[in-house]
Homo-oligomer: 400 residues x 2
């Protein structure tokens, strides 16, 4: 029997999905499980964009241009203009989800053994793409006590080696919800220019900012050759299943290399490009309602968390995630236990153990990530269950 690859062996399983069997078992017992574990919004996909697909009347489901339909890329130019991001349609490559934009950035800019610095905790799937591209993720630690603000410049400087090729951020951040300030973005610019690094900026949650304004990496002056935006329609329009994202840069050499990777996989999905194109024409106030909804969820979640004895949750500025410190011994054990051995009035909660978002062993043991993708009533019920669970969890630790 032939052996599998080393990378197939070291590839980490999804930390978000590994508890699924326990959630399924709980449901089979009749327990209601509140899913705060995964960033699948419950918000309906705008009818206009689904209808655009439903009313499409082509006869052949053809390959699109490898960079995506030109009409869609021109629409995206309009979209970015709203954020004062001046790009033309040839500086945009439509990708199969934000996932492929990440993979393309790693492939086009780094070689095996090269290093990317990422503040931890970080989106766990970056690990997966790093394994595929045979590049190394080196983390510097952000702390819950500062709400996961950007680590100090010295921490970055210490981590930089001759193999460092890029800094990768997610802004606003998944999993912490932290929204980087203009000043923090300027720190990253200084670092990238000084050390000749790419700045990979995953801005999947650009619109979802509640405290403060989003400052895009693409708005950093003098960084045209360094910045690569990794974007997606998934969260923005609750269109995760479309698998449409974008790779955006003004660096022509990177664009040329990336186009070759894009050509090898032929084209991004055609149906969802129609949806993405229609999305740019949504009414200007589309996000107002969505943002108000998420903000009230955040406010309720954070308030209820901080009311539980021994729990601390910094107020996240954006996205739809919060990281909470709990009085527990081990978040993996706790998140499994609450599904396997706990229920309160027939209900329990599924959360993501924070350990999966840290590369440094031992970190995140008393933290969990909660995605506030449920309505207010469900969030309230979930927080009541969590509070009750913490009262009886056998691995509860003393409150510091």
């Amino acid at each position: 029997m032939p052996t599998i690859s080393q990378r197939g062996k070291v590839m980490p399983p999804s930390p978000i999905r590994k508890l699924v069997p326990f959630a399924e078992a709980a449901k089979k017992k009749g327990v209601k499980v509140y899913h705060l574990n995964i960033g699948q919004p419950d918000i309906e996909t705008p009818k206009q964009i689904l209808d655009a697909v439903r009313h499409s009347d082509f006869k052949i489901l053809e390959y699109s241009h490898s960079a995506g339909n030109e009409s869609y890329r021109r629409k995206l130019v309009e979209y970015y203009k709203r954020f004062d991001i001046a790009v033309n349609h040839n500086q945009i490559i439509v990708t199969t989800g934000g996932s492929e934009a990440i993979l393309f950035a790693f492939m086009a800019c780094l070689d095996p053994g090269d290093e990317i610095i990422v503040p931890e905790p970080f989106y766990a799937n970056y690990n997966g793409f790093a394994v595929e591209a045979e590049v190394k993720i080196k983390t510097i630690t952000a702390n819950i006590s500062t709400g996961f603000a950007l680590p100090a410049m010295e921490d970055f400087e210490k981590a930089i080696t001759p193999r460092t090729k890029a800094i990768l951020i997610c802004n606003p951040n998944n999993p912490t919800g932290y929204l980087y300030s203009k000043e923090e973005m300027e720190v990253l610019k200084t670092l990238c220019l000084k050390h000749n690094l790419y700045l990979f900026s995953d801005e999947a949650y650009r619109e979802f900012c509640y405290s403060g304004k989003h400052f895009s990496a693409a708005n950093l002056e003098g960084m045209d050759n360094n910045v690569i935006l990794m974007d997606t329609i998934s969260k923005r329009y609750s269109a995760c299943g479309g698998r449409i994202g974008a790779f955006v840069t003004k660096n022509q050499e990177v664009l040329d290399a990336t186009m070759k990777f894009a050509q090898a996989r032929l084209s991004p999905p055609s149906f969802a490009q129609i949806a993405g194109e229609a999305a740019v024409d949504l009414p200007a106030d589309y996000f107002d309602g969505i943002k108000a909804e998420y903000q009230s969820r955040r406010d309720l979640l954070v308030k209820m968390l901080n009311e539980i004895p021994g729990v601390f949750c910094p107020n996240p500025g954006g996205a739809f995630y919060a990281m909470a410190q709990l009085p527990i011994d081990d978040s993996d054990k706790f998140c499994q236990w609450i599904l396997e051995h706990f229920q309160y009035e027939g209900q329990t909660v599924m959360m993501a153990p924070a350990t999966g978002f840290y590369a440094t062993a031992g970190l995140g043991l008393n933290e969990v990530r909660l995605a506030y993708v449920l309505n207010l009533e469900d969030i309230r019920s979930a927080m009541i269950s969590l509070a009750e669970a913490l009262k009886v969890y056998p691995g509860r630790t003393a409150i510091k």
Copy 2:
């Protein structure tokens, strides 16, 4: 300015698409260009499967299961059963096109520096995925004089090294149209079992067989742990833009590793999974009409090619490609010249130079690939233009 990666530099541009600017220039001059260069069928996508998407009535475009919707995978089990391929739904991972199935196979089974043996000429994009995965494609040469039959077992044996992990075939073949016989498949089985190799079998064109019956790698007995099918709905249902394929194997270890890669990119596109699922329910005679159409195109194309003095085109058994030997000095030059400097009654032809399908330098210089994805009338006109072009091409060589 940060430098791009070495793999970004060595990544080959698409040999099929590099002539696009010359075709566009010809069209701007008012010349009609017959596109025989690319495998985008002109056959209409079955209305039933487009309607399945158009009539979908979900409210949230959610992530699907990372392996694809279970309902679709269960439908695919039915589909494979029609070819006596007995797999269950957990042995199928729905991919983003056949492209992703290829990438997953390379990633899950090979490490950087490992080798795959591929008979040349071969589908050029295998190169791209090899560059991404940092694996090496080693070719052994199939010859136009045998119609591109499988090279002799000794040729494979000579190419096998301690780093060889897999043999990769496309059956029926792109670009040659060759349909491997059961006996040839048995040769591959012998080789794989003797040397403990994977057999990657790209069966994108499984249904399109005109001379002889398709024998799937999945029907080779005793090869459950060796065989990986790389599949796609693109050509089968003229649904190239859907970007839905499948990775199929009974090797549990490979499935487990591949699922981790699948989870990292979250899910395959949702809309086209609906189309794919509906496709399995197309009437049993769906392919009869399509096959008859392709066969008459093949018959006309091959006949007209062989009637041109100095041209030789073996009769391809399947797919919708033919490779023709022309009395020319250099197929790259010729395919550019015919777009740039030639027209016959306001018409010309776009073809793919065969050099892009060979890894061995110097091969394919007098061969072109023609995709018979146009109707009979267009094929006739295209062949007339080609015959005229060969009369006046300055780089014409003596007829052997």
